[in-house]
Amino acid sequence: MQASDHRPAAQIQGRAVFPHRHLTGIAGLQPHEIMFLLDEAEQWIEANRTRARSDRRLEGITQINAFFENSTRTLLSFEIAGKRLGADVVNMHAAQSSVKKGETLIDTAVTLNAMRADVIVIRHMASGAVQLIADKVDCPVLNAGDGWHEHPTQALLDALTIRRRRGSVAGQRVVICGDLLHSRVARSNMLALTALGAEVRVVAPSTLMPPAIEGLYVTPFTDFDAALEGADVVMMLRVQNERMAGGFIPSTREFHARYGLTPERLARAREDALVMHPGPMNRGVEIDSAIADHPERSAITEQVEMGVAVRMACLDVLTRAERGVEGWA
């Protein structure tokens, strides 16, 4: 494993390098701003691997993880990221919130705001819900996934993984395959990877292909085998069981036959192609175990590791203004 060649550009300093109050999506970020977040994340990778995690820069900061939709790994990743930097992390699950009692999202946002959170991490099942909350609170808001819209930290961790493993994102041929229509991970990745100069091919049956997808500067394929030719990175998406019930695809068996990543299929990609998956995986449906567990090809556990580093970087950067960091206040 090697660190990427890219190093932060020293020309721009302080807030000017990342002038956004919230991180609601990759849309709206400039390529150099995405690069900045990746550069910031690099320092936490090594730090996380050692036992001396002594950085307490978020000491006294209250981080609320407001998860209106169930999540295990993303919630855990944000919680660990905050705690590694010394923040006081509070988790709010929808199941134990007043959302179930009919409180509107804006009322919930106002309530969280009144509790003087310093940063709020939100996951919600409705596209756009995070922006709605961001507009109503006084602190930075981080999108941990909203509906089918965006999941920006996932795209950042994926870009970081690719950059570290392949030296650069630019020029890489990345194939994203699976349920693109309902995937916020796919949307954020399409935006981030094309912004960083990758050639992105997207693969899905027509029933799961978002309309007008070419407008995102990606090339759509329905034939997975054709898309895989010469691929540097193969990113598989999770197929949710409810999609089968919804009639988008006939069965998991048929999906596997056409879109499952098998060793035979992967042979069409470059010999050293990287395999990624945002998790949790459906082994034997979208990805075979032999690939998921492949020591050289699979970057799936590394993605999880990068996730913590990227989220530490985002929490740090977004709270710099309120922490009074020089040049950011």
Partner: protein, 397 residues
């Protein structure tokens, strides 16, 4: 006593206008003269297909009669409810109930059209949604024809549009919103115009908003089908780009379309394919709109902006002023079978005085309507209604 407006620009070219009691007249003997101040004088607007009786918004918009959609609580499918609805706005605003075409708007059993018509219903309507079952729709059309009632239909295939909150396209894809293809509209129009042709019934599509849908209307009219259609200003002024940033005020039914469909609506207004301009008035408070886009209510508050936005068509030269008031008054009256909507002698003295060029800015926070959910907030427009007369009686603002 006869009253005579002078110094007015009457629609059609006259400079004076007389009415006696509740009726328009040409006999000006012994009349009291009123100075119209150079204002334009036109028929009161007949707003076909509103979802709420909103007197203040209608007064501000120059609307003297509304066709009230059956989607009320309770649903307008019973003579007692219809009789009550017909009296809701009187005397300032005449409400013409559109009775539910099927019981409870369920789309399964025929409603009592004849009894409801005798209680005051002027047409039957499918409501906010289409009737999914073609067999039921055929019976609705056949039976409505027997009763001499037009069927007012919602042109959207409800199966194709089931969970959709937007029209398919790059905007919906970027926002991650469930979207339906624009042909959901044409599919419904194709089916329902064929059924109308087969049964000989009169059908009015409340809103037609796509190029494909308007083409089908054109073809059906050419074949002699008794079909008419309407549109609201949103679909010739806005497109799906306007829902960017999840603007719930722009969440409408049918959803905003692509820009090429928007252009097709403008072309159809110019060539006469579209017969009616309506407001689609549907006031929704913040509890229905300050929500994530997919959870927000559909609809816009449109009554008081209808005339100003429509006058834009005249200013651009797309249609003339007389044609505009056919779209806003005469044609909706015809669809509802009302003896109103023009300034002909003997007709009810429902008219407005307005200044077509007065500039103002639409302000969602200062709307007269029950709610300010307008997608046109902060838009500068021209055209202000000064005076409104219903049945010869002036309506105070």
């Amino acid at each position: 006593m006869t009253r005579l407006f002078e110094n007015v620009k009457v629609l059609g070219g006259a400079t004076s206008f007389a009415f006696s009691g509740e009726t328009i007249t040409t006999d000006t003997t012994n009349s009291e003269t009123i100075d119209g101040g150079g204002l334009h004088l036109a028929p009161g607007i007949i707003d076909l297909g509103v979802f709420a009786v909103d007197r203040a918004a209608c007064r501000a918009g120059g609307i003297t009669r509304v066709g009230l959609m059956p989607d009320q609580s309770p649903i307008l499918d019973d003579p007692g409810i219809i009789r009550r609805a017909a009296l809701m706005g009187k005397p300032d605003l005449w409400v013409h109930p559109l009775a539910a075409a099927t019981r409870g708007l369920q789309g399964t059993d025929l409603a009592e059209m004849a009894i409801n018509a005798s209680a005051g219903a002027k047409a039957v309507a499918t409501g906010r949604r289409w009737i999914a079952d073609a067999g039921v729709m055929r019976k609705v059309l056949a039976y409505a024809k027997d009763c001499g009632l037009t069927v007012i239909a919602h042109a959207e295939d409800g199966n194709l549009a089931r969970d959709a909150v937007a029209t398919e396209g790059l905007t919906a894809t970027l926002l991650g919103l469930a979207a339906a293809p624009a042909i959901a509209e044409a599919l419904a129009i194709a089916r329902d115009t064929m059924l109308a042709e087969d049964t000989g019934a009169a059908i009015h599509f409340r809103q037609v908003t796509t190029a494909a849908g308007l083409d089908l209307i054109r073809q059906a009219k050419r074949r002699g089908v008794r079909v008419t259609c309407g549109v609201t200003p949103a679909h010739w002024l806005l497109s799906d780009i306007d829902i960017s940033d999840y603007r719930t005020y722009a969440r409408l039914s049918p959803p905003l379309r692509s820009d090429s469909d928007r252009q097709a609506v403008r072309a159809a207004l110019a060539d006469g394919t579209i017969d009616v301009i309506a407001s689609g008035h549907d006031p929704r408070g913040p509890e229905g709109k300050r929500l994530p886009f997919i959870d927000a209510d559909e609809g816009m508050s449109g009554a008081e902006t209808l005339l100003a936005l429509s006058l834009g068509l005249v200013r651009e030269g797309l249609i003339g002023m007389e044609r505009l008031f056919e779209l806003l008054a005469a044609n909706p009256a015809r669809v509802l079978g009302l003896d109103a909507g023009t300034l002909a002698p003997g007709k009810p003295a429902d008219f407005i005085l307005f200044a077509p060029d007065t500039p103002w800015v639409i302000d969602a926070t200062k709307m007269k309507a029950r709610a300010g959910n307008t997608p046109f907030d902060t838009l500068p427009v021209q055209g202000k209604v000064h005076r409104v007369f219903k049945g010869g009686r002036e309506i105070e603002a």
